[in-house]
């Protein structure tokens, strides 16, 4: 019995963490149209900066703030240096995606050059607190932090997108950029803000992931592929969809591993994703096609 409670709780935290990555990817894609694969690099950069500050003895919250802010700034810089110039040259879609792949390689190797390939472990007393026991399952304080933070972030994104003027502008740019411009929305500025917001959310995910999974530059590609796949299955541009897609696929791969073979657990997820997209090209909750 407690095995299943444990399984459920683990999937809940796993999905919350990756859902955050997928949702932030999805926000950026839906508003700006950029298939921002380099997002994986932004996620990892936040983790590494957080790590460096913690090592310097900076209090954890301040270090986390630094990491999150750095991620937001990095996202905006990438947008200014690469995506906006491409857009001015009317280069959207596939060209932008390949540019993003190039950025991903550059970010990954920059992390490698600066922090080396050694495993970096975040060392905070908080991470060594004993776990709670809930119905026989072990619930670590970190997993609670991940779950609570992610939930707050999701509600925050939802509120931002649907209850604020900025969100309205973002959705307007997402639906019809030219029309948005006509009614006086500065689309360029909205995209800039979107990149900041999306990257900040990614930064939060990156810091949580650093504490849970440690740091290694090669994680960059893993997070990029996962966030991308989950967001697409969930439905591009749909935040609840990103969350739903993430939970569906992480559940499938975890159960596939648990009942089947763990060596191919990601195959279960990719096969499911494959079938879903064949049947519903716009994704589970998506409105438009990729």
């Amino acid at each position: 019995m407690e095995i299943y409670v444990q399984l459920a709780w683990n999937i809940l935290t796993l999905g919350a963490l990756f859902g955050l990555m997928a949702a932030s990817f999805s926000v950026i894609f839906s508003v700006t149209g950029v298939v921002h694969v380099a997002h994986g690099g932004v996620i990892m950069a936040a983790g590494y900066i957080f790590y460096s500050f913690v090592e310097l003895g900076v209090p954890a919250l301040a270090a986390a703030t630094a990491g999150i802010f750095a991620a937001g700034t990095l996202g905006v810089i990438l947008n200014i240096l690469v995506y906006e110039p491409l857009r001015r040259r009317r280069r959207v879609g596939t060209g932008m995606m390949i540019a993003s792949v190039a950025l991903l390689i550059i970010l990954q190797n920059t992390l490698l050059a600066v922090w080396s390939s050694q495993t970096r472990t975040i060392d905070l007393p908080f991470l060594h607190l004993p776990p709670y026991s809930v119905w026989g399952a072990l619930v670590s304080p970190l997993s609670v932090l991940i779950f609570v933070t992610s939930t707050i972030m999701f509600l925050g994104i939802f509120w931002l997108m649907h209850k604020t003027r900025l969100g309205k502008a973002m959705r307007a740019v997402s639906d019809q950029e030219d029309v948005a411009e006509v009614v006086g929305i500065n689309a360029r500025r909205v995209r800039q803000i979107t990149f900041f917001v999306g990257s900040v959310v990614a930064g939060v995910a990156g810091i949580l992931a650093a504490m849970l999974y440690n740091l290694d530059p090669s994680r960059t590609v893993t997070y990029a592929v996962d966030a991308f796949s989950y967001a697409i299955v969930g439905g591009i541009g749909s935040i609840p969809g990103a969350l739903f897609g993430t939970y569906l696929l992480t559940t499938l791969s975890t159960l596939g591993g648990f009942y089947g073979a763990t060596a191919i657990k990601s195959v279960f997820a990719f096969l499911a994703a494959f079938v879903i997209l064949l049947v519903r090209p716009e994704g589970l909750l998506g409105k438009k096609r990729l």
């Binding site: 298939v35 690469v82 110039p85 491409l86 040259r89 280069r91 879609g93 596939t94 060209g95 995606m97 390949i98 540019a99 792949v101 190039a102 950025l103 390689i105 550059i106 990954q108 190797n109 920059t110 490698l112 050059a113 590609v221 991308f228 796949s229 697409i232 073979a261 060596a263 191919i264 990601s266 195959v267 990719f270 096969l271 994703a273 494959f274 997209l277 064949l278 090209p281 096609r289 990729l290």
Partner: protein, 286 residues
């Protein structure tokens, strides 16, 4: 030095075969298939396994690799016949992941991560220079075939399909049949390239056909330019020259790996920023 040049030229010719097919499918038919590296893997493993476990003659094994890769690619496009644009690319990427997982985990057949050592080259072509001539001959033939195809009425119909699928259908073109055929051809040629790569390296493992190879092919294609075969030749040759040239720059050994990757990716970025059609491309990525 000659042996090094022979090595690099052989590699360029083998990659060129794969990239030509890549361009046929992406540049003319507008289907960006990210399963291309996996198709090379299918061709390479089929050849290597047939030579290892059966008495099949070399060229029969090669042909089997081509056919299997072509058939898988065609089968995939039957499934995905209604899917277009980015969604198609994402599906092919996942399809490639699944094939890579099969190569890695079907240990009884493929030896898994251990890979397959001692892959033969055809009799008479075992040494580097004759093998280069063989590869160059095959590359030239592939070039001629692809060139002929793209300039045939069928090739023009592919272009029409890429530009506007609905219009092509209205004009009486069988879009689904074209997609399946072009996938089969491109997949088969990718398999051919993979089989030659296996013979050339004489050792392959699942990692040979992984994400780095896919990214490399993609870079060749984009830098060379879509819907231009001379562009593809130029893309492959110039980028391999850059990649090899970077070996001669005096980076400090600790940073050599990271810096070369950064410079290579940076070059790609500059091409996309300043030459969106690539060096000689005819159409832009949609």
């Amino acid at each position: 030095m000659e042996a090094y040049v022979i090595h690099v030229v052989t590699l360029a010719a083998i990659f060129l075969i794969a990239t030509l097919a890549f361009n046929l499918q992406t540049g003319w038919a507008g289907m960006l298939s990210l399963g291309h590296a996996a198709m090379m893997g299918v061709g390479g493993y089929t050849l290597a396994l047939l030579l290892r476990h059966t008495d099949a003659p070399y060229f029969i094994a090669l042909l089997a690799g081509v056919c299997l890769a072509g058939a898988l690619s065609a089968g995939f496009s039957v499934l995905s016949r209604k899917i277009t644009s980015h969604t198609y690319s994402v599906l092919t990427l996942w399809f490639g992941f699944v094939i890579a997982a099969v190569l890695m985990n079907w240990r009884e057949l493929t030896r898994g991560a251990l890979g397959i050592p001692g892959i033969a080259r055809p009799a008479g072509f075992a040494e580097e220079f004759p093998f280069l001539l063989l590869v160059l001959t095959i590359t030239t033939l592939v070039y001629l075939v692809v060139d002929r195809l793209t300039r045939s009425p069928w090739g023009r119909a592919l272009g029409a399909m890429r530009d506007d699928e609905v219009a092509a259908t209205t004009l009486g073109k069988n879009v689904v049949a074209m997609k399946i055929t072009v996938s089969a051809i491109a997949g088969g040629i990718a398999g051919l390239s993979g089989a030659l790569l296996a013979s050339f390296l004489r050792f392959i493992d699942p990692g040979t056909f992984g994400l780095p190879l896919l990214v490399l092919l993609l870079v060749f294609l984009v830098v060379g330019g879509l819907a231009s075969l001379p562009g593809t030749v130029l893309g492959v040759v110039s980028l391999l020259a850059v990649r090899e040239g970077l070996r001669f720059l005096p980076f400090s050994p600790e940073l050599v790996g990271a810096f070369r990757e950064i410079v290579f990716a940076g070059a790609l970025l500059l091409v996309i920023l300043y030459r969106p059609k690539g060096l000689l491309g005819k159409v832009e990525l949609e």
